[in-house]
């Protein structure tokens, strides 16, 4: 997860602005206190030269898909129309790179109890996985993991932060 963010941030320094990550339109602006942004520059040089993006890489994935994550309503794991279009774009990319495996990380906002949120994160990641499988992605390529409320994306205690944290994030593995 953090690794993914690091790469995105690093890439945004060297690629055309705006390409790195397209968040869903209903995403509220991040709160003042977001993830720590320090230290990302140090990772920028490793494995990336100039504007070259390796086909089939996580960087390629992030540039190619509508978003690396889908968001959910409170206590819900329903895949809505916006989430469907995001997952469709992920499925299309995955069809181009059949050797790429993915981990789907399920998360919940802080307003649920710890254990329930672990189950809820699993339910969300599984919902995203099931949708991708229905689009032809082999189950053997997908690993799901729930982080419950342990790894919020946005650190505020407000509706905007909670909306960003109810998510299932697709991360490519082994590239």
């Amino acid at each position: 997860m953090n690794k993914a963010i690091m790469m995105v941030s690093a890439l945004s320094l060297v690629t055309v602005a705006g390409c790195a990550r397209r968040a869903p339109e209903q995403l509220p602006p991040p709160p003042a206190t977001t993830a720590p942004e320090t230290g990302y520059d140090t990772g920028a040089g490793t494995g990336q030269t100039g504007t070259t993006v390796v086909p089939g890489s996580q960087a390629d994935f992030l540039q190619s898909v509508n978003a690396d994550r889908v968001l959910f309503a409170t206590d819900s794991s329903d895949i809505d129309s916006q989430a469907r279009s995001i997952l469709d774009s992920q499925a299309q990319w995955l069809a181009r790179y059949p050797n790429v495996r993915i981990t789907i990380e399920g998360h919940a906002d802080e307003r649920g109890t710890r254990e329930y949120n672990l189950a809820l994160g699993d339910r969300r990641a599984t919902a995203a996985s099931n949708y991708l499988q229905a689009q032809g992605v082999s189950a053997s390529r997908i690993n799901v993991i729930s982080y419950g409320k342990e790894r919020p994306e946005a650190t505020g205690s407000d509706e905007g932060a909670w909306a960003q944290n109810r998510r299932a994030v697709t991360v490519t593995v082994g590239n």
Partner: protein, 440 residues
């Protein structure tokens, strides 16, 4: 026990010299109008002897401080200030100076001694007196190794507490919890263990992996918990003595929310498969899990009744999280929570009478209800209080409190009246406390 307590109260109220405010009944469920004044003078030694834990006269002062701290923290007692008490001579321990102690305002006197034995051990004598009735209420001696002197003090405090309240002891017990540090979106979490009063704090894991929800085995020698080791969140046991860890449930599935059965033979837990979470149990020595629930939805947070015959758990099968009770084999599942809002993290009292829970609605609050449902009472009121755990006597709860915004967590305790609430000091932030059994 409770009858003798009533007798003390009756005697006190008959005495004209007793100020009205001091006429308290020490009743941990009904609440206390004012804590009872109690004198716990420094414990003398027959002769000052150096030990591995310091000299016996220094230990006498430390023992009395630990006893006073325990009793003060219960909310039921106000120890007399140490500066307002004269020293007690060794030969006075069994012959209390009642007129003097009556003058301090104390209703109860706890005095004793610390003696070094020839074999390197210590004996801590503990005597409890009713200052007004001028009678001895209890006496006990505890033989401990010098480095366990605090346990003797806790045992003495337990003796006082039990004798005066009629309730079971709880001070000589330990807590395992999750020590937290770091930014809200990347907390480092370590298992840590400490005495109930925060002393003897020790980390059990390095913080390399996220660890959650540690719980003691009934004999207190093992901890079952969840870890993200190898990026697979699953259940492990840890031997407290050796630090040895063992994976409980093989396979790639998410396993979590573990708890031992009261006889220690089984581990109750939740496992998610295909997005559906159910309750299972597995032999504490490993093997094939047995499925206990089979509902579409999230069934988690299982906790056994003290006799092991039933299980309380939470399920969202009806929509939001609610509490259910079933037989230990999974049969006869009945919903027991019917108030407004949602209910999670149920835990059965070791006395069997109550179930504590997190009430979810707006914020999180700690509450209790009867084991059959009904009689709901909420005990705390902050932004997020979560995951209660019972003291061994079933009369005090610990939980963790998360601050809005910062997400910083701290460990707190509250008694069943909801009036005696305090923070448990931990070196770093703390969450997921689990109160262990009374030590032998």
């Amino acid at each position: 026990m409770r009858r003798s307590l009533v007798m003390i109260a009756a005697v006190l109220s008959a005495m004209a010299a007793v100020p009205a405010a001091a006429q308290v009944e020490v009743d941990v469920t009904g609440g206390v109008s004012a804590p009872q004044p109690i004198a716990i003078p420094v414990m003398p030694t027959n002769s000052p002897v150096g030990t591995a834990a310091g000299s016996t006269d220094a230990l006498g002062r430390q023992v009395s401080e630990v006893i006073a701290n325990d009793l003060r923290n219960s909310g039921l007692f106000t120890p007399i200030d140490a500066n307002r008490m004269r020293p007690v001579r060794f030969d006075e321990v069994t012959q209390p100076d009642y007129p003097y102690w009556g003058g301090t305002g104390a209703q109860t006197l706890v005095q004793g001694f610390v003696r070094a034995n020839g074999d390197g051990s210590l004996t801590v004598g503990c005597y409890v007196y009713d200052v007004f009735a001028r009678t001895e209420l209890a006496r006990q001696g505890f033989v401990v190794q010098p480095d366990s002197w605090r346990r003797a003090a806790h045992k003495c405090a337990d003796s006082v507490y039990s004798r005066l309240t009629g309730e079971g002891p709880y001070f000589d017990s330990r807590v395992v919890y999750v020590s937290e540090t770091g930014p809200k979106n990347n907390r480092t979490k370590q298992l840590a263990i400490m005495d109930q009063d925060g002393a003897n704090h020790r980390f059990l894991t390095s913080g390399q992996n996220i660890v959650l929800t540690p719980r003691f085995s009934p004999n207190e020698q093992q901890i079952v918990y969840m870890s993200y080791a190898e990026d697979r969140p699953r259940i492990y046991t840890l031997q407290v003595g050796t630090g040895r860890q063992r994976l409980v449930v093989e396979g790639a599935s998410l396993s979590f929310a573990p708890r031992f059965s009261p006889d220690g033979r089984f581990i109750l837990f939740s496992m998610a498969q295909g997005g559906n979470t159910d309750l299972y149990r597995v032999s504490a020595s490993g093997g094939r899990p047995q499925r206990l629930t089979n509902s579409p939805g999230i069934d988690t947070g299982g906790s056994y009744s003290p006799d092991g015959s039933r299980i309380v758990f939470e399920s969202d099968r009806s929509g939001g999280q609610q509490l259910y009770v079933m037989n230990a084999d999974g049969s006869n599942q009945q919903r027991i929570s019917f108030g407004g809002g949602r209910y999670g993290t149920p835990v059965w009292s070791p006395r069997g009478d109550l179930i504590a829970f997190t009430k979810i609605g707006g914020g999180f609050r700690i509450g209790v209800m009867n084991a059959s449902g009904g009689g709901e009472r909420l005990l705390t009121n902050a932004w997020q209080d979560e995951q209660p755990t019972w003291a061994p006597n079933g009369r005090v709860l610990m939980f963790f409190r998360t601050a809005q915004g910062s997400g910083r967590a701290s460990v707190h305790s509250v008694d069943l009246t909801g009036r005696v609430e305090r923070r448990i000091a931990t070196p770093r932030d703390g969450s997921d406390p689990s109160w262990g059994p009374l030590l032998p």
